[in-house]
């Protein structure tokens, strides 16, 4: 089962929930945690783990073979992203604008634009006990998160098809990187906080996730601050609230130090177990 942990708003507790759930599950069985926030991956800060594998992430871009080119300009005309242009006597490729559609390369009558692989970042896999942790991080200046997210999910699925639970720590927001993260999840856990910001971004995230007709559950973090509008929204939308994590300076301090909170606060262990039980019940109950 693939569980995506997402939120809309940043800083609501996605990484806290992902890392703590993963560590808790790992106490009794193998589990995979994939950090898909490839722009700012920081789940790994919460584990001391051995690196077991590393590979370069790449994207396909055209390479101009001057010797074959007749400067016909077809490549520039077929590119919808303005990623390749004719500039006087040369063809210039803008790799950051390229979407790797291959149109320029394959429609070039002279085969003067072979595809090459350009580095965009690195995928790393770590292990500690039962926990297999996979992250991809974009090189600074690389803009496209989606291909790295897709690649990381694929890597996890191929290598750990036998593991019962895979957790995806999602990037914030509601646009393409989040869509790519939740696309093939079996369950989406949305973490929010009980404030107008939390509610606003939660409702956007719900609309996004519902495009894929996913089963959703909400966790209200920092419960006790703010107001009841999030709970009211969930009632209205018939979205189950799986847990309320109390607002606590102690939790904020443990998180700030890179510590797993359930190990220090027994109440959190119970809350996390409750979340896992609820997800099992919902997904096995035909949801």
């Amino acid at each position: 089962m693939k569980i995506a942990i997402a939120s809309g708003k940043g800083g609501t507790g996605k990484t806290t929930l992902s890392t703590n759930l993963a560590a808790l599950i790992a106490e009794s069985e193998e589990v995979v945690l994939a950090d898909l926030d490839v722009e700012e991956p920081n789940s790994g800060l919460f584990f001391k783990a051995e690196t077991v594998h590393e590979e370069i992430n790449v994207k396909a871009i055209p390479y101009w073979d001057e010797s074959k080119c007749t400067l016909c300009g077809i490549c520039a005309r077929v590119c919808n992203f303005h990623a390749i242009i004719r500039l006087g006597p040369s063809i210039v490729v803008f790799p950051e604008l390229c979407h790797s559609c291959y149109a320029c390369s394959e429609l070039c009558p002279e085969a003067a634009l072979p595809i090459i692989q350009k580095r965009t970042g690195i995928l790393s896999e770590f292990q500690t006990g039962n926990l297999h942790f996979i992250e991809s991080r974009l090189d600074i200046g690389e803009e496209q998160a989606v291909p790295a997210i897709a690649k990381t999910k694929k890597f996890a699925a191929q290598k750990y098809s036998g593991v019962r639970i895979t957790l995806f720590d999602s990037p914030p927001g509601t646009s393409c990187p989040v869509m790519e993260t939740v696309r093939d999840a079996d369950f989406v856990l949305l973490v929010t906080e009980p404030t107008p910001f939390g509610l606003h971004d939660l409702s956007l995230a719900v609309d996004t996730v519902r495009v894929f007709e996913k089963t959703i559950g909400v966790v209200i973090n920092r419960y006790g601050t703010g107001n009841d509008d999030v709970a009211e929204y969930c009632r209205r939308e018939q979205i189950p609230v799986l847990a309320r994590i109390p607002d606590s300076r102690r939790i904020a301090e443990l998180y700030s130090a890179g510590k797993l909170i359930y190990k220090e606060i027994p109440e959190i262990r119970n809350i996390l177990e409750g979340i896992l039980d609820a997800i099992t019940e919902i997904t096995e109950g035909g949801g």
Partner: protein
């Protein structure tokens, strides 16, 4: 006219609360731009009047004209995004997977694939109670191209600032280091980095500052929730000292941030004393460093 961009790398460090405070302090000398277009929250504090609104189109989306389709499958062969599926001999394009490259339409033998402009969201110009104006936007559900909508919001804010003779454009950026952030940094005069003293806060600050350096933009740093972890706070201070980034302010872990959000106000409006002072001094510092 100077452009000040507020970013953080990590989400939830207080960008929007800081931006709203600066916007309030700047009053009519500021045009405010919410460039966190896929989870925009600034309007919840500044309560714009949504005075002017326009649809935003970006990129294309392909679809198959079924009567014209000869079911040859060439479109599905060339699509690198697995957007074209076949079921019972009928080819369809999944709008959520289509990147809008138009390759399929170009090679379709009977020309049965149509490209349409994709509606990617809306953008608005509003009056706000600070006496200034605000440009904001909403990305459509499932829409791509957030970087382009960010660029649109910024350009509109710049034009508006010139028209209104405003001194500053203040930009609320999005988390991360990817396309929307790159887009919001382009052309900036000064970057305000809002971080928090946590391992994640520092990790993300370092990555986003690497990006800021690539653009050769001056930056300053605000440490929010500054008292939550003294050890991490020191590490951030060491980092900014090493990089020569001016430390703009320490803001305490304070429930007035949440209170302001609940009331739909800026911190300046609800706080008298310490917090308001710090933010006012911080805004003055930002102005000094920007000019």
């Amino acid at each position: 006219m100077k452009e000040i961009v507020v970013i953080s790398g990590k989400g939830g460090t207080g960008k929007t609360s800081v931006t709203a405070s600066f916007s309030y302090l700047g009053g009519s000398s500021v045009v405010t731009a919410d460039c966190d277009v896929d989870a925009a929250d600034l309007h919840l504090l500044l309560k714009p009047d949504f005075g002017y609104s326009e649809d935003f189109y970006s990129g294309e989306i392909s679809s198959i004209d079924q009567p014209g389709c000869i079911r040859c499958g060439k479109c599905a062969d060339v699509c690198r995004f697995d957007a074209i599926t076949v079921k019972n001999g009928i080819y369809r394009i999944d709008p959520l997977r289509c990147e809008g490259c138009g390759y399929c339409a170009r090679i379709c033998p009977p020309k049965a694939i149509i490209n349409k402009e994709r509606k990617a969201g809306k953008w608005q110009i509003s009056h706000i109670r600070t006496g200034g104006k605000m440009v904001h936007a909403r990305l459509g559900i499932g829409a791509d191209n957030s970087g382009k909508l960010v660029a649109k919001v910024k350009n509109e804010a710049r034009e508006l600032a010139l028209e209104e003779r405003a001194e500053y454009v203040i930009v609320d950026g999005s988390p991360g280091v990817g396309c929307p952030v790159v887009s919001s940094l382009s052309g900036a005069s000064f970057v305000v980095l809002v971080t928090e003293p946590s391992v994640s806060g520092l990790h993300d600050l370092k990555r986003v500052y690497e990006l800021v350096k690539k653009f050769h933009i001056k930056a300053g740093c605000i440490i929010n929730k500054a008292d939550i972890n003294p050890g991490q706070h020191q590490k951030i201070m060491d980092f900014v000292a090493e990089e020569g980034i001016p430390h703009l302010a320490d803001l305490p872990y304070d429930e007035r941030f949440t209170k302001a959000i609940i009331e739909g106000k800026t911190i300046i409006e609800i706080s008298t004393g310490n917090l308001e002072d710090r933010l006012t001094k911080c805004w003055e510092k930002v102005r000094r460093l920007t000019n």
